[in-house]
């Protein structure tokens, strides 16, 4: 279709080589530069957490919901990696089994952000005119309300469940995705290769799907990874305040929240907290790496 293989001068400014026609999110694989060790480690952490949430039974044989009362408040040991809680439940088992709901909620939140925010940004950027002006105000409103407060309001309107916390977090992430998508679309829309495609007889839909979306995908992917980490934090915060599923669910935020009542057993706070931090840090690191790969 298009024969333009090099970057049309001045088309995308500082965005790097996003002017070609290979979807920029995939281009990374072409270059054979090795990822730094920190990034590999981050991928490892995320894969481990993902594995925990898919098949918790493979990683721990202990029951997360029932404990041995005689074993209460044991410190971390080889038998109980993260120690035990006030009911003698294995904290590691609780963290592993809790990761499914923490990870799923974060993914749901990101999906809502990408779909709704992406659609808003796409429409605003691509159609322009009054659609853009109207959607810009909607995004301004969403930005004006502190995202955590917005999530709290949405979750209290929907009811205190983890899935609602995920939806609430997703709603609070819509504005950022809309903003990034819009600016990417605007950037690409003015590119010479888009003009060329239109001149060659490409329909608006063709241009949108073949050129604009693939070029925007890179930035949206970065943001999605970053937002995954942020969503974990927000959902943990909501769970910490008790706006998620009640115990015996073992969301990471909830684990920290119930662990804080036992200052003499600090591992009950630190173990889930460290897992959360490691996950978010990994997501941030990968997002930064994707961003710098241009």
């Amino acid at each position: 279709m298009t024969t333009i293989t090099t970057e049309p001068a001045g088309s995308t400014g500082s965005a790097g080589p996003s002017g070609g026609w290979v979807p920029s999110a995939l281009r990374r694989r072409g270059s054979r530069r090795r990822a730094p060790y920190g990034v590999l480690l981050s991928f490892g952490v995320l894969l481990l957490v993902l594995a925990w949430s898919l098949a918790p039974g493979l990683f721990t044989r202990q029951d997360p919901a029932h404990g041995v009362p005689a074993d209460a408040f044991q410190g971390p040991s080889t038998a109980h990696w993260f120690g035990t809680d006030h009911l003698g439940r294995d904290e590691f088992a609780r963290v592993v089994h809790g990761s499914a709901s923490s990870v799923t909620s974060a993914l749901v939140a990101v999906a809502i952000g990408v779909l709704v925010g992406g659609l808003i940004g796409l429409l605003a950027g691509f159609l322009g005119g009054w659609v853009d002006v109207t959607l810009a105000r909607v995004v301004d409103v969403l930005l004006a309300i502190p995202s955590f407060l917005l999530a709290v309001v949405v979750v209290s309107a929907l009811g205190f469940e983890t899935i609602n916390a995920a939806i609430a977090t997703g709603v609070s992430a819509v504005a950022v995705f809309a903003r990034v998508m819009r600016s990417e679309v605007l950037k690409t829309r003015r590119a010479v290769f888009v003009e060329a495609s239109l001149l060659l007889g490409g329909s608006r839909w063709h241009v949108l799907l073949r050129h604009v979306l693939p070029n925007a995908s890179r930035s949206v992917l970065n943001l999605a990874v970053l937002q995954f980490g942020l969503s974990i934090l927000v959902i943990a915060g909501l769970a910490f305040l008790g706006y998620g599923d009640p115990p015996p669910a073992s969301d990471w935020g909830l684990l920290v929240s119930s662990g804080k009542d036992y200052p003499l057993a600090p591992w009950l706070v630190y173990a889930p907290a460290l897992v959360t931090i490691a996950t978010v840090l990994s997501a941030n690191r990968i997002s930064r790496w994707l961003r710098n790969a241009d």
């Binding site: 409103v141 309300i145 502190p146 407060l149 915060g237 931090i277 690191r285």
Partner: protein
């Protein structure tokens, strides 16, 4: 940056720009009110009457009727919204469903504590951010490199964990403050650290990015080649141009301070807007919730409006052409700066 995006338009005078921005700000606040109202009333569930008729709340049937009539709960949502909006424009924030007190009284009672906390958190955040940024340019290489990882680390730690850690170390182990005396200066200081750390990360990220950008400029190379020391270069030349965009970032983090106060106040046992929200959520006291959200939106919009209005005066390079998009571009700025810098 984005402000110059539409170069084909004729330049506009500052006054037009200012008027446009003010009108936009008012529109955003009103829309924010409508948005929260709709979120609260359109979503499934009827928490208002559920709360009112909850026997624990001791409302007589007559009082229930009066409140239902006040909020027009028996009428269509659009009528309710219109009435609520006209009350809001007149400054009436409604009546709490829980205590039967005006919402403005409830908020007024706790506002001071949250303002103190938020302002101290901002001070802490700025001090930390500037400290980190100074270190990345002037400390020995390994330290500087380590310091660059700090913003990312700060952004990855849930702020309730920071709070719990501070309480554990400084209150329980070192005894530097009493958890019971939650509003005392020492406790406020540590609460401010907990709230300020995530904010400092954002400020530091932008500041470091700007410093790196400035350090690559010709004037910086020239000054170094003439024998200016690193720290003199930092203080005399790099700091000023790098700090200006930070003003925009600070304005954008205002919301974060208010949202974060929710968790920080809960952990440190403070009475403030955050704990009021927390209580209103558990008791489904929607008018209070609605008022707090709108208040937060007003604060955010006003702070950003002031920054947008003052910024062109501080930095004459800012071009007001295409200024209709000012709030949006202001919001884009930190993200793009961060991206550009780490690229």
């Amino acid at each position: 940056m984005g402000v110059t995006r539409q170069p084909r338009r004729a330049p506009r005078p500052y006054l037009t720009y200012a008027v446009q921005r003010v009108v936009q700000a008012v529109v955003v606040v009103l829309l924010a009110y409508c948005f929260t109202f709709l979120v609260i009333s359109v979503l499934p569930g009827d928490p208002v009457t559920a709360t009112l008729r909850n026997p624990q709340n001791n409302f007589t049937e007559e009082e229930v009727q009066r409140i239902v009539a006040y909020y027009g709960l028996d009428r269509p949502v659009w009528v309710q919204l219109w009435e609520a909006l006209s009350r809001f424009v007149q400054g009436d924030l409604g009546v709490s469903l829980r205590s039967n007190l005006p919402v403005s009284t409830l908020i007024g009672d706790v506002l001071g504590s949250t303002v103190v906390l938020a302002v101290s958190a901002l001070v802490v955040a700025l001090a930390l951010a500037f400290g980190i940024a100074y270190g990345t340019r002037n400390a020995p290489a390994p330290v500087a490199k380590a310091l660059r990882a700090f913003p990312s680390l700060f952004l990855s730690v849930p702020n309730f964990v920071i709070g719990l850690l501070l309480i554990n170390v400084f209150a329980f182990n070192l005894g530097l403050f009493q958890v019971i005396d939650s509003e005392g200066p020492a406790a406020t200081f540590f609460a401010a650290i907990a709230l300020g750390i995530p904010v400092s990360a954002q400020v530091a990220e932008v500041l470091i990015a700007n410093l790196d950008h400035e350090a690559r400029q010709d004037y910086a190379g020239f000054a170094t080649s003439r024998g200016l020391s690193r720290s003199r270069l930092f203080w005399r030349h790099l700091l000023k141009p790098s700090s200006l965009p930070v003003v925009t970032v600070i304005a954008l983090t205002v919301g974060e301070l208010l949202g974060g106060a929710l968790i920080t106040e809960t952990i440190f046992g403070r009475t403030g807007i955050g704990s009021l929200v927390q209580r209103s959520v558990t008791t489904q006291d929607l008018p209070v919730l609605q008022a707090v959200v709108v208040l937060a939106a007003v604060v955010f919009v006003v702070v950003n409006l002031v920054v947008d209005l003052v910024y062109p005066l501080l930095d004459p390079r800012v071009d007001l052409r295409g200024a209709a998009r000012a709030p949006r571009t202001a919001a884009e700025q930190p993200l793009e700066t961060t991206q550009g810098a780490s690229a």
